[in-house]
């Protein structure tokens, strides 16, 4: 009976993922292929209030990042985290909350090759894809580097491998995300990005200390259309307090959405509304900790371009001719203590 067996699609998917896993674990030096998104699809929602089976460090000082950024591990083996892992030479300072398939991470990595960035995602399949993708990207870049350094190497010919484009002509952007990084060398080798499964609504402060981050990205968050689901939105006044805790003064929080109503929700939760002349001052809230960044400034920020055009979701919105609403907020300094 066909109904007794799992659907063929699922069997195929599981087999594919097993192969990806096996390929990554093998150390025979073969080229790691880019994972294909279609085998990692997952429904777009997760309940942020349920416990899940999450792993998270007891505190930021316990977090072991060494396996995530092998290129940035401190050579001094005596330096260890509270959980005994190796320390890094620098701290993680950019976070993409709800990174999905990781388009933003991959887009930003070459722009800031010396900045450690992490994508956080609650959905396991999607995260698995991104981890495989980063792994494959690093391996492909390594291959390209070796080839560039030693063009006569007798490396097995890869069908997709093209001769490298010269510096003067920019490489055409691959039509498929799964192909980025297979043909062109990018600065930083994608060693500066990683992905972690987490529920940031609960555990963001377990990963990052006070004022540790310089940028937080929240791209195309789950809009939770129904009013009774609004409490599950990733932007709220109380969560904004936590973002302010991990963001350093001057740090930026980027948001983009295709849902107009959500855009206004974001503005409403980061900024005080118009106050009537002579009216009472607004009640103190986390809104006091942020100010909106001007459009002129944003026009010069390459991160905004990546966020607008290179994430998977933004491409989908472009395809469907939807609107994109960008709002970026700067973390102000904490207010003076009341006398």
């Amino acid at each position: 009976m066909t109904t007794q067996n799992p659907p063929a699609k699922r069997i195929k998917r599981e087999e594919y993922r097993r192969n990806v896993q096996a390929q990554q674990e093998s150390t025979d030096g073969s080229i790691i292929k880019m994972p294909q998104k279609k085998f990692f699809r997952q429904r777009a929602h997760a309940n942020p209030f349920s416990d899940h089976r999450l792993e998270y460090p007891v505190s930021p000082a316990h977090m072991d990042w060494s396996s995530h950024y092998p290129a940035f591990v401190d050579p001094d083996t005596s330096k260890t985290t509270l959980s005994g892992g190796r320390k890094l030479t620098k701290e993680v300072e950019v976070v993409d909350i709800g990174c999905g398939f990781g388009g933003l991470m991959v887009g930003l990595a070459p722009l800031m090759p010396d900045t450690l960035m992490v994508g956080m995602e609650i959905r396991t399949s999607v995260l698995e894809y991104l981890s495989s993708r980063i792994h494959a990207l690093r391996s492909q870049q390594q291959r390209l580097k070796n080839k560039a350094a030693n063009p006569s190497s007798t490396e097995p010919k890869d069908a997709s491998a093209q001769p490298e484009s010269t510096e003067s002509t920019p490489a055409p952007v691959p039509a498929n995300d799964d192909e980025i990084g297979t043909e062109k060398l990018f600065p930083g080798n994608f060693e500066n990005i990683t992905a972690i499964r987490s529920n940031t609504m609960k555990f963001l402060p377990n990963f990052f200390g006070h004022h540790q981050l310089s940028k937080i990205f929240i791209c195309f968050p789950d809009p939770h259309f129904k009013a009774r689901k609004h409490k599950a939105r990733i932007i709220s006044e109380s969560l904004n307090s936590e973002y302010a805790y991990v963001l350093r003064p001057g740090g930026l929080l980027y948001t983009i959405t295709d849902v107009e109503e959500y855009h206004y929700w974001v503005l409403r939760h980061f900024l005080h509304g118009e106050q009537p002349e002579g009216g009472a001052a607004p009640a103190a809230s986390s809104k006091d900790l942020f100010e909106r960044v001007s459009d002129e400034e944003l026009a010069l920020d390459p991160c905004v371009r990546v966020m607008k055009y290179e994430t998977e979701e933004s491409k989908k919105v472009t395809r469907n001719k939807g609107n994109k609403y960008v709002a970026v907020f700067r973390r102000k300094a904490d207010p003076e203590w009341p006398a």
């Binding site: 416990d51 259309f225 109380s238 103190a284």
Partner: protein, 495 residues
């Protein structure tokens, strides 16, 4: 005492000698709030007042007398329709339902006292924060009743005692004035016609488009009969939010030192192992620190009045942590009896006693009780801010609440009168006295006679019906022992 009686769930010793009045003990047991003369133990008042002295079962549907003396309740049940002509009718209707509501709780798990003359309680089932006045004669009179959106797990006051702080099971901390100032004018949001936030620019699949179309049709139909949004109809502010169940909330003031002036903080604990340090009102949105170290839920926070730099915290771990809480620094990890995964800290209490003839040095004590345990663990805090275990007191029943009476050098312990010692479910056949008292002599706490306690114990609290159904028994057990439900089970659904 043949019949079973409710144990005291909350105790508070109200020191009023500075105001030239005699001290009062306020306590909750079952669905009642009691006030006692602290010297004689004479019961001064019971709230809500039973209409008939014999009526003690909870099914009584008459409104208690003291209830009607309070100001008219401002709360209005929102009916499905907000049409004008129906208002008058629903007004009288809702009054009835309010009367019912005043009788609908079975226990009072939270209590605090402001300015020595206001008692703030939360009645359990109706999630209602009630402020009562406590007059010179110890009489209780309800001044206000404010219904919260979620059941509270903690109730305290801002340092000036003029505002209430409440933490609820949804993770939110509210602040609202102890005494509501005048009539609250509800900020009426203009009733906007409902518009789906999704558009055909944001949803694309056939199914989503269909449901969007349906929403549009529905919106057109219900444009006129949109129910107004249910908002709290009293002055309030949400100041802190955890995306987790909030378990405890305390307000701490650090005295000025050489570097900084006096500063107040709010410490909150949640089910996800967090202890958060925020600034006090009005800057509670500024998070100053997290204290990381617990690996299970945190249920109790205690910053001893004698050492405000120190925090003692406990919960589902079989250890306590002693912190320099402003620095997220663990000063000490104190092992508790019992194994990991079973021990739950019910309460942590600080008691400080001035030096007496018996005790030359001032006493800086921390008492800890575990959930469903008849032992009370006694520690002292040394000059290096670490705790030393001194003694473990054996009580006649499970420890529910502890309060120190420094003028007498004693502690007062409320014990469970219903459940057998060291059990959270097995009932006794008859009740024993609800209070015990101890005095420190030569380093040990020994039981003492106290006329107040003797008198209170002889009168007892309210009796349970002679037969209690098993289901009701379980409800009563859960109303007192619910902390173990906070433990995370490993079988959570995941995908």
């Amino acid at each position: 005492m043949a019949s079973l009686q409710h144990p005291f769930q909350c105790l508070r010793y109200v020191n009023r000698q500075s105001a030239g009045q005699s001290d009062i003990l306020v306590a909750t047991a079952g669905r009642n709030l009691y006030s006692y003369d602290a010297s004689s133990g004479q019961r001064l008042d019971v709230w809500p007042q039973p209409v008939d002295a014999d009526v003690e079962d909870q099914s009584s549907d008459a409104a208690p007398a003291s209830e009607s003396q309070g100001p008219p309740e401002k709360r209005r049940k929102l009916s499905e329709s907000s049409e004008e002509q129906k208002d008058a009718k629903s007004e009288s209707k809702s009054k009835d339902s309010n009367k019912e509501a005043t009788n609908s709780w079975t226990n009072i798990p939270l209590l605090t006292v402001a300015h020595g003359k206001y008692v703030v309680i939360m009645t359990s089932e109706d999630k209602c924060v009630r402020v009562l006045s406590l007059d010179n004669e110890g009489k209780l009179k309800q001044l206000s009743a404010r219904t919260m959106p979620k059941k509270l797990s903690a109730l305290t006051l801002t340092p000036d005692e003029n505002n209430i702080l409440s933490g609820d099971k949804f993770g939110d901390v509210y602040t609202f004035p102890l005494i509501p100032s005048g009539e609250y004018v509800k900020v009426q949001a203009p009733v906007k016609p409902y518009e789906p936030s999704a558009t055909n620019l944001t949803v694309h699949t056939k199914r989503n488009l269909e449901s969007l179309e349906q929403q549009m049709r529905q919106a057109a139909l219900s444009r006129t009969s949109q129910a107004e949004r249910v908002v709290l109809n009293f002055e309030h502010q949400v100041i802190i939010g955890h995306v987790s169940l909030l378990t405890d909330l305390i307000s701490v003031t650090r005295p000025a030192d050489s570097a900084v002036g006096k500063r107040s903080y709010i410490l909150t604990a949640d089910r996800d192992e967090h202890i958060r340090v925020s600034r006090g009102v009005p800057q509670a949105h500024v998070i100053e620190q997290f204290c990381f170290g617990h690996t299970s839920f945190v249920s109790s926070l205690c910053v001893p009045s004698f050492e405000p730099k120190v925090l003692v915290s406990g919960g589902g771990d079989n250890y306590l942590l002693v912190w320099d809480w402003l620095e997220n620094q663990i000063l000490q990890k104190v092992q508790l009896p019992g194994s990991e995964g079973e021990t739950t800290v019910r309460g942590i209490w600080d008691v400080s006693l001035a030096p007496t003839a018996d005790n030359v040095d001032p006493v800086k004590a921390i008492f800890v009780a575990l959930e469903g345990s008849s032992q009370l663990i006694y520690y002292t805090v040394g000059s290096d801010n670490t705790m030393t275990h001194q003694d473990t007191l054996q009580l006649s029943g499970n420890v529910l609440e502890v309060t120190g009476i420094d003028s007498r050098g004693t502690i007062l312990v409320a014990v469970d009168t219903l459940r057998q010692s060291d059990s959270t479910s097995a009932w006794k056949s008859s009740s024993q006295p609800p209070l015990e008292t101890f005095r420190l002599s030569s380093g040990k706490w020994a039981p003492v006679e106290d006329p107040m306690v003797t008198k209170i114990n002889s009168e007892g609290t309210s009796s349970l019906p002679t037969t209690v159904e098993e289901k009701q028994q379980k409800e009563l057990n859960d109303s007192v022992y619910h902390l173990s439900n906070l433990r995370k089970r490993g079988d959570a659904y995941d995908d």
